[in-house]
Symmetry: D2
């Protein structure tokens, strides 16, 4: 048993921390200033500071850190990348700087594992280079997406074409001016067995029939220049080779896509919580009420202690899940991955809420990053499977394990 | 002991409910559409539908319901107004329709109780008529406002003038195009005894030296056309008769102002929670996953039961606090008023969060009112005294009571 | 709306409080000393102090307060008795003093409402006089009793006899040397409709075939001289007129029996929480650590405030449920009765646990009544329907209400 | 980073698990039967089965596993012993079987590190052999022991003697018929600096002036044959060499004593929680209500998932604390040790409470080990420093860390 990060992870961590301190955190207010706010996504622009930072990060070798395949980057294991992902969670602007932001990371993983040579050339290369962005169109407005089999959109094969129809939403990143392609998931063959009915299709965003209907706000904020889009697909016709790995493999790809992504999300949200706790301490050490710094008043030290304990525990569980991904694979780590997906965002929601409270009104405004971090944590309790579905799975696996144990003990 | 609302309250409740169902709720999307969003408050406009609804409410006798004085309205007691306030909490747009929105209500109460004839003529009359709006400038950005004695702004008496200096923020409503006056609180005499040092001053918004610096977002939303302003006061010179009730009475007025306001806020936030629970039930009865309506799945019924119990308890406590205000006064109800201020917003935050969760992504967007209601609840845990200060007071009163009891029992 | 207790309730409350202060609380250590502890129930004796106190309470007119029927006592409504029940919850020994202890109260209610003249003469009279005690045999060890239809014991009619077979447990009070009779519930006619299959039978404890197998501890304590018994019934033969209200009415009687009992339990557990909070305050005001009384240290004032708010809310909800029982009946108060059954014991469990924590080791010992009060609260989360079943019912009623509302609004 | 136990730990774990399954768990009811219950500790006897099991464990090489020094046993690191301690937490009877039970373990550690040759010969040898038991007399009834400087007992040096006076309680194990010696802590020199004033003294239990006054129950259970004693010391005169490591070193020894002990306690309580979750699953898979196994009903799967997540997190945090003890020492692991002391017992309390709830009445009785495990968890929130003190320390260290960080970043 060894809780120390590997030498490789420590080396990257040191460099990443330095880059964050010197380049990223000072740029946070500049980025905020260069942003075009509001729901009209057609006016959104990439803030110039972002492209500058991307270039610097690439030059510093802090690029595509998330991919375990050495062919495409430093080739870090999940356990080694996890502490880096945590650091990029400290500010919503960081992941893109290192080309490590969802949903592009998941889309790149899909292309690495399942993409044809042509698909890789067309989309993986520019994504790896950070030249374009992408989106993932799975969730639908008309049905409970927590049950993926509810999906109503179709990817029908007609001769040499696949034809996409349906309405998707929460397609994050689709509002970005650099977004050029989406991965669309739809029903291809309702007569096939349950998990072989759907396909994933690469659809260039300018294909006729694709329409971004609107951007969806989260707590009133539109998250430009990425955004969360509602997108309609009306008789979108594409050649058959736009299908990733062939028809009917949608569920298989979706499953593989989610494991590492959940670890990334959880580590980032832990980084968000860690930053919130820092802000909480800084504020409460610096403000005085009733003759004492807030840090000493009433139950505030308890709040700090509770936050620290919650963060530590969630981090250890997430690191263990990452280590299991590396050692026993997604399947062996199924319960742990669901566990962190429940634990980390809830923990972060509570820690950030506590930090908001200590900041008073300031914590609710944009003067601190707290509400943006909060929104991220809150969204994660729904995205990539709501807490409810993960708890259900954890219990199912637990019952199974206990039943096996009792069977053995008889 | 009688838990039934009075006949008078029931009559108003019935009429208010009918008005809400026929006029207000159908107008919610129209109002939303007519709003000018974003941080540039100089562009904000009063949505025309609001003025139409105000006229209808006034005609229906549903106007200025909050004032116990019969001279200015129906003259409802706190206990009778409480259930009405609850109903107006169902949508953020409702209170203004009935001229019952903060901070105008508190400002009107102050003028009724402490205003001179001239002050009443100038400001109370148009406020009662709903012709103008007002703001309240107390909280400051540079200090912990949870301890009111931290206040740094000054209201210095120079000959026949009072001169205001300082910086205030979270001055809600100051961005409204109808806002014409603010009540400013500042230090007048640092040598007086602790609670006789401050004054409250009526300052027309167009007085030279007053500058609205910016609007503050809450979770990224700017709440136009009201807004929450940061306002600077630089040598703002006003005649002495702009001081309400004379110099040094600021704390006395602030104390009296807060009791009813806290009950109004708490009842409204209970109404917000009640609506969230309705939406939660409606959504979970209507959506299907894993072959069943969400309403039946896993722990969802427990969530509903927990929400119901939490709402019932918070409502009873708030009604009791209102009844105590009517029967034993603010001073006798001090613990109860602090209790509801802690209980109701926290309860609402949890209930609305649960409703968001059941809605999935939709709950985070503006397609439902949930995030706006959530922001209201979250703000209330800070505004009018943060939870921490109220809990401290509750404990202090409890210790005092217990010590008296032990003293008696010896 | 009026939150004040009635004049009648206030009068009884004053007298009861005086009796508690003068007679009961000083006798608590004497009673404890006179108790025979341990699992061997055959050695248990009624502590003499109890009979003295019963005589005094009877003389003081504080007797059989729980029965709303004027024929048998002061005839207090549920709303009027509720605050008295609260006071008797301050010490586990109190209810018996006033002849107001479960399960005798429930059994007396059953006899008042459903008993024949002969049954009343034989059992109700001595119970009302406090001359004998009784038990209620419903819960069974072999099945999940949360679902009452699981019941396996039988009350078979054979000619002029009813024959009881089965095994019951958690038959509280059956170990008392004064216990002379039990009410047994069993299956009579499996072919009848679901809620007409069971009967309730009055069985003298010395009837051949009844055997008290053992006493069950709660957290290791055996609660003598009452105890919680496991009782076997083997061919227990009784005349048909031992059946209460005739065969097949068991469920009907059980339903009616539970409403008032739940209010009594909840009010008592609120009294237990109130006493725990008093002890908590007293201890934390009197003990010093790190140079300050515990009352001032860290988050302790928050603990006090949280306890106060939780108690107030639970009490108001319980009082409202009692008032509804009086005004709209058990059926109309169904949701509220289930709500208090979930809310009050959980609240008390938390408040008492907090009081234990402030007392340190002393709180875990018998030097304070805290662990006994804790056990009472904990038991109540299971007895008379576990929390889970009550939440299920609350949700069901909520869905029904919301569906009706939506139907109306279409 | 490596979350796998070491080969050595895995080997011991396998053997320990086998021994638990074959020898210990089947003996649990026998031990229970052989116990002498009740408060009269003079009647307590060592159940014969315990001595049999001790002999078997010793023969199997599963003896004194807790000591890192190879001289006295297998020489396991804290990280390697931690998973073994967890297993021994599954039943209260287990630790003694392996000679790994508190407070003897802590006392042996003290003697190993600070004992003289004579002290080791006299007390360490028979303790290591399991021939005698010991107690630790630190906590006092008259003061808040959470602040150790409150201690009032004295260990006064008079010529060649040290004279002990004072009253201690919660001296666990002092009721055991094998208990022969206690370690007493008292004030020696009130003029010395704050943490050099106290001494620890080895006092044979039969020394004149030592009187075991009574045994203290926990939730009504007396935990024989160990017990928790209240002990008076009246002019107990001992030679100076009874002082461990010389006068004035009491605090230093106490500090060193607590680190490993806290890890042992936390791991055992995690084992208790793990067993409770097994029982919970077993019961809920085996009982049926409303037509389904409890395991499927309502929120029960959520309960299981929540328990699983809480246990995993607490275990990882405790293992990390153990690893830090081994790698950076008690001082470097100070925050983590306080963290686990707060996290693990609270977690266990909740998990075991959930298991009790699923068992219904059976869970409250002695038919399952749940209430005994619950009492252990509850006691731990007070023993070895109450939660409040640990949270205070965690916050203090956090503030210090954050202040250093901010200082660096300026």
């Amino acid at each position: 048993m060894d809780f120390a990060y590997s030498a490789k992870a420590r080396d990257y961590l040191e460099r990443l921390n330095a880059f964050m301190a010197e380049e990223v955190m000072p740029a946070e207010p500049i980025y905020e200033q260069q942003l075009v706010h509001g729901p009209d996504w057609t006016q959104w622009k990439q803030p110039p500071i972002m492209e500058e930072l991307k270039a610097k990060a690439k030059a510093a070798g802090l690029w595509n850190l998330f991919l375990p395949e050495e062919e495409y980057g430093p080739g870090l294991s999940n356990a080694d990348y996890a502490p880096l992902a945590e650091i990029t969670g400290r500010t919503p602007m960081a992941p893109e700087i290192f080309n490590c932001n969802a949903p592009d990371t998941g889309n790149m993983e899909v292309l690495v594992k399942y993409g044809s040579k042509a698909q890789k050339d067309a989309w993986l290369e520019p994504l790896l280079a950070g030249e374009i962005r992408s989106a993932f169109c799975m969730t639908e407005p008309a049905v409970a997406s927590s049950d993926a089999t509810n999906m109503q959109a179709t990817a029908t094969i007609e001769g040499d074409d696949v034809v996409l129809n349906g309405r998707k939403w929460w397609s994050s990143g689709v509002g970005h001016p650099h977004c050029k392609v989406v991965i669309f998931m739809g029903l291809t063959d309702p007569t096939a067995e349950k998990h072989r009915q759907h396909s994933m299709v690469l659809a260039p965003l300018d294909t006729p029939g694709i329409k971004v209907e609107r951007m969806l706000p989260v707590f009133g904020a539109y998250d430009g220049p990425f955004g969360h889009g509602e997108v309609s697909f009306t008789n979108v016709r594409l050649p058959l080779d736009a299908i990733i790995a062939g028809p009917g493999r949608g569920f298989e790809i979706a499953q593989g896509r989610l494991g590492p992504g959940r670890i990334h999300h959880c580590m980032r949200v832990i980084g968000a919580a860690e930053r919130a706790l820092e802000l909480l301490c800084q504020r409460s050490l610096g403000r005085v009420a009733f003759g004492q710094p807030l840090a000493r008043l009433g139950g505030n030290p308890d709040v700090v202690a509770n936050c620290r304990m919650a963060i530590e525990q969630a981090r250890l569980l997430t690191l263990k899940a990452a280590w299991m991904m590396d050692t026993v694979g997604v399947k062996g780590a199924m319960s742990e991955i669901s566990q962190i997906k429940v634990v980390a965002p809830s923990m972060a929601q509570q820690v950030i809420d506590a930090a908001i409270q200590i900041h008073g009104g300031a914590g609710l405004s944009n003067d601190f990053a707290l509400t943006a971090l909060y929104a991220y944590a809150r969204v994660l309790r729904i995205a990539d499977g709501p807490d409810e579905v993960h708890r259900k799975l954890i219990a199912k696996l637990e019952y199974k394990k206990q039943q096996a144990k009792f069977a053995r003990s008889v």
